[in-house]
Amino acid sequence: MMPKRNRKGNVNLTGRRRLNRKLFKLKVDWEKMEISTLDLNLGSLMAGKDGIPANSPVSLTARFRDVWEEFDLGVVGALDIPSEMSLKKFGSNPITFQFRLRSAKVGEEGILNVRSAKFSHSKPQGGTIKLKVDEYHLLHFEIVTFSTKGVPLEIQFPTNPQGTVSIRVNQQECPQLFEALDEGIGAYWGLVVVPYLSTIVERLASDANRGAFEPTETPDENSEWQCMMNAVFKDWVGHGVQDIDIEDGEEVSEWARKVSSHFCRLIGNPALAANTLVVSS
């Protein structure tokens, strides 16, 4: 079994400091597969009586799964940034970076003095990852640039009748969340898709109520997305929007609960997986 990362908080008995994100700037050129911009401003770290010694080695680590690259950037007082920092070995996979500054004092070999938070860069994707429901693509994940910061996800309903419901993930701030959803990791599907299923169910009830689609119609490739989604849910739990009182909020909620419950059984036990995720984070 894969080990759990059951750290109890971040131990800091050595006065390790955090490299603030404002102190560095890193850009990846995905065409050339290399780091195109790397600006580091470490002067402030050396200031004061607790300042980091100028001869502390600085490195930048880059990784994707078992592919690892470490760039030696010289020492704090005299940075020596390589002119070429190739990332070709990573292919087009997302890369997680971290700056790490080691102690240069004798007797403290290997002690980590300063580190940045891990941060990721992903190759911009124009396409979408589709989640197959029945034989149609009714729901998919999409990684997009959000206009506002801090929002991890949003759901977007189709504007055309044969469209696809889209769960959109914030590209700048949540590339790893997209990766986890794309890989179908149960815990993330449980935390993201299950609540959105309720949203979709309620949307179906609302659209049926205003006559946007005909729930009793047998779906074919020209049917509205609502009709197809409704047919899938009916197949899952035995009744669709046509079998409930869509004006009764409690009945709609009960239907949503059944749909969510069936979906969770389909993908395993996301409740347990989600709890494990919290415990191990």
Partner: protein
């Protein structure tokens, strides 16, 4: 000897391969489909030098060391860890040596086997479990420091392998893997692993990963030597440390 050109399974081939019974089952249910050389299910692999390669599908190996040698003689030793993306190639190789990779019980029935051991899953949580590619890449990256994963039988996946290879910053670090070899490898044992290394008790690999995860917060372990890392380990690892064994 039966030398054939190395191939990769296509999508249809992988689907066909996935249809076998992966649980505990009889010979017939667990036998792989006869699609190894069928062009409907696979294609020849053109390697980076523009050539194809041959492999003897009747080669036998009793452990990982011999298996890696068979692979190196065929596909060479230049494939990089990033090439685990070639799911079709590794699935085809598993199919070619299926009998040797999947374990049987004493009655000759197949034991249960995770599909990821035969067909690379491509997922973060199990990409490293492929019986052949995991050992091949360990050898290509760590050479003789990978004997702890190579000496045992190829149809077993010890918890030691699972614990160590599932943590990316450990598996890719030369010095940490050297420390693992010093801690847990014993060439005099048939599977090369010291007793207790694969368990859950004190000093086991499971504990090692937990301890290293804590140290990772304080030390730049990858920049340290294997001996420096071993010196950091708490007393629970004392029975595994090489020096302690010499004293005994």
């Amino acid at each position: 000897m039966n030398e054939v050109t190395v191939r990769r399974l296509n999508e249809a081939g992988i689907s066909e391969f996935l249809k076998i019974n992966w649980g505990k089952c009889s010979q017939d249910e667990g036998n792989p489909p006869d699609i190894l050389l069928d062009p409907k299910f696979s294609e020849e692999v053109i390697f980076s030098n523009g050539n194809t390669r041959e492999i003897d599908t009747e080669a036998t190996f009793s452990n990982g060391i011999e298996m890696v040698e068979v692979l190196r003689l065929s596909i060479g030793d230049r494939l990089q860890p990033g090439d685990t993306k070639d799911v079709g190639l590794w699935a085809w190789l598993s199919l070619a040596f299926y009998d040797q990779i999947r374990a049987k019980d004493k009655d000759g029935n197949w034991k249960s086997c995770a599909a990821a051991r035969m067909i690379p899953s491509g997922r973060t949580v199990s990409y490293y479990r492929h019986s052949m590619s995991a050992r091949y890449f360990m050898h290509s990256v760590h050479g003789n420091n990978s004997l702890w994963i190579l000496q045992g039988p190829i149809n077993r996946w010890s918890d030691l392998y699972e614990q160590i290879s599932s943590t990316s910053w450990i598996i890719s670090s030369t010095s940490i893997i050297e420390a693992v070899q010093k801690l847990y490898y014993d060439p005099s044992l048939p599977n090369g692993i010291k007793k207790g290394a694969a368990g859950k008790m004190e000093g086991s690999a499971r504990r090692l990963v937990a301890v290293l995860n804590q140290f990772w917060e304080t030390y730049d372990l990858r920049s340290m030597s294997s001996d420096q890392i071993l010196d950091l380990l708490p007393s629970e690892f004392v029975n595994f440390k090489p020096l302690n064994q010499e004293e005994v």
